[in-house]
């Protein structure tokens, strides 16, 4: 469970996050909102790249904001990036192994087993020795997701994982994302603009607009919410 209370981020006069309070309970939770709503800023606060002006984030009882950022991975925080960030110069195996090495694990002997487990979990069927730089967009995304689920994750943040994928590829990714909570015993927060993917993966969804939480609850109900529709489509007042 992640409890966010009164989280505010200021960049000069702009407030990308404005007293955001939300609870992500279990399973896969959606976080949606128009462009510039503050979704990625929230992820950056979680990762420690952005220091909030106020507010607290507790994850499974631990105060996340008090941990040095590089310690958060060891604690069990994982994330993927909007522009996929698998390491081009390393092999598929090394990409996943390097996350494992900085995570909590049960002795070096289990490394290969865990890494191969993560690769087969995401359904990646490429040569594990292949350099990531030689792979296509779909495979690189899956490598990144494998990096996010290896080594006992507790919270997995996925930032637009389906961007640039075909419908078929998104379906496969959706199935992988849905399986994370059960198989990896982790809480997933999914940011995406693809409402089909969000509906398919998330029981509950929170909506941000201009840094404020405007709705939260069961995904189907949230997507019908009047304020959410207005935030995405604008109001009727035209001229």
């Amino acid at each position: 469970m992640i409890e966010v209370s009164d989280l505010t981020v200021r960049f000069g006069g702009v407030k990308p996050l404005d007293a955001m309070s939300v609870t992500f309970d279990t399973g896969t939770c959606g976080l949606i909102g128009p462009n510039g709503a503050g979704k990625t800023t929230f992820f950056n606060v979680m990762s420690g790249f952005v220091k909030p002006a106020a507010g607290r984030v507790h994850a499974f009882g631990d105060d996340l904001l008090r941990m040095p950022h590089f310690r958060r991975a060891r604690w069990g925080l994982r994330r993927t990036f909007q522009t996929e960030q698998a390491i081009e110069g390393l092999s598929v195996l090394d990409n996943v192994a390097m996350i494992w090495e900085h995570a909590k694990h049960e002795g070096r002997g289990k490394r290969d087993e865990d890494v191969r487990g993560a690769l087969s979990f995401v359904g990646l069927e490429v040569d594990p020795a292949a350099k990531v730089g030689t792979l296509g967009a779909r495979e690189r995304r899956l490598v990144e997701v494998a990096r996010a689920v290896v080594g006992r994750p507790r919270v997995v943040l996925l930032d637009e994982p389906a961007a640039g994928l075909s419908d078929e590829e998104t379906d496969h990714l959706g199935a992988v994302i849905r399986a994370i909570p059960e198989h990896m015993d982790a809480l997933v927060v999914l940011v995406d603009h693809d409402m089909t993917l969000v509906s398919a993966c998330c029981e509950n969804t929170a909506v941000l607009d201009f840094g404020k939480l405007i709705a939260a609850g069961p995904t189907a109900a949230v997507l019908r919410d009047e304020r959410v529709v207005k935030a995405y489509l604008g109001t009727e007042e035209v001229l």
Binding site: S47, F70, R71, R78, Q85, L90, D94, H102, A103
Partner: protein, 342 residues
């Protein structure tokens, strides 16, 4: 560990090359060229250090020649003051350089790119000024160990097993191979993977749990360590050390040579060693002016930037392969035609 076919061929080439270097080459060369080859090997180790920083971690240092000078100073001082075995002298020179190189590199944690390059260049300048004043140890008294009298200044001693020039060349090659081995082991370990993450994106490295400060410092320490060892080898090689062997401009020439050689493969360091030491010797031998080197390096850098950012260590085998393909094409065509003919 089982190796696939390309890896086995690669390993075979390395072993054959080393066997040739150590067993056959010294007896084929005159004393002068043995000297040149020794310094090629030493500067390949220096280039290895800079290539590690630039190609693997993304740190640009313009202070490596100063650290080389420092390693040479420490080694020289120790050989005059103690009778420690040479490997210990080398290790201490490496360790001292690692300490200082890491201190010098501390700004690297905050700075990057051009600013880091400038800071390291200034510190190289500072080290050079200090070494110009103190001079290198030559068997004199006191902590600095320098005497102006030409009497009583013996050459820096060499390891007992390698007192001849060819013996010392073999010794140097052996130590260089060890240094390359240390770097290869690092690149294949947790540290190498963390460096690869840092080089691509510090944000994603942080998100992956990499302690960026620790791994950058480790890279600086390792690069300085092997550069210090190279300094120790250089001290024994030349016998007498002078500050003119470590000019500030050498740092920039080294950077150019390393870029030309290629920073993403370890062969690039070998190529850089050849460029920075063999090329001037060849120019000299052919009676060409030594300043030509600067022009050649300028043209070489442009060539590399435009046609092969990965350096000649990658470009040369690739282009030679293409050339071989082109040359063999007429033969293949003839053969194909013959096979097609009824």
């Amino acid at each position: 560990m089982s190796l696939d076919r390309p890896a086995r061929i690669h390993a075979g080439v390395i072993v054959a090359l080393l066997a040739f270097l150590v067993l056959a080459l010294p007896s084929m060369l005159s004393a002068y060229w043995v000297d040149v080859t020794t310094s090629v090997v030493i500067y390949a180790v220096v280039a290895l250090g800079l290539g590690l920083l630039m190609g693997r971690v993304g740190l640009v240092s313009l202070g490596q020649i100063a650290i080389l000078g420092l390693g040479a100073w420490v080694a020289a001082r120790l050989t005059y003051a103690t009778s420690l075995p040479y490997p210990i002298v080398l290790l201490l020179a490496g360790a001292m350089s690692a300490v200082l190189g890491t201190l010098v590199g501390l700004p690297a944690l905050r700075l990057s790119g051009l600013f880091l390059a400038l800071i390291t260049l200034m510190l190289a300048g500072a080290i050079t000024v200090v070494l110009t004043t103190t001079q290198f140890p030559n068997g004199g008294p006191g902590f600095l160990g320098h005497t102006d009298s030409s009497l009583g200044s013996n050459a820096i001693r060499r390891p007992a097993v390698a007192s001849s020039d060819t013996g010392y060349f073999r010794y140097t090659t052996l130590v260089a191979v060890l240094m390359f081995g240390v770097v290869v082991l690092h690149l294949r370990s947790k540290a190498g993977r963390a460096w690869a993450a840092i080089r691509q994106s510090e944000a994603s490295a942080l998100a992956a749990g990499v302690n960026i400060t620790r791994y950058k410092l480790w890279a600086l320490a390792l690069a300085s360590f092997i550069t210090g060892i190279a300094g120790g080898l250089l001290a024994g090689s030349v016998g007498k050390l002078y500050i003119v062997q470590f000019p500030i401009s050498g740092n920039i020439l080294l950077l150019a040579a390393v870029l030309m050689g290629g920073i993403y493969t370890l062969w690039g360091a070998v190529a850089a060693g050849l460029l920075i030491k063999l090329l001037p010797a060849l120019l000299d031998n052919w009676g060409l002016p030594p300043d030509l080197l600067t022009i050649l390096f300028g043209v070489g850098i442009l060539q590399v930037l435009i046609t092969a950012p990965e350096g000649i260590a990658v470009q040369l085998p690739r282009d030679l392969g293409r050339l071989a393909g082109l040359l063999s094409r007429p033969f293949q065509r003839n053969q194909a035609a013959r096979e097609e003919a009824p």
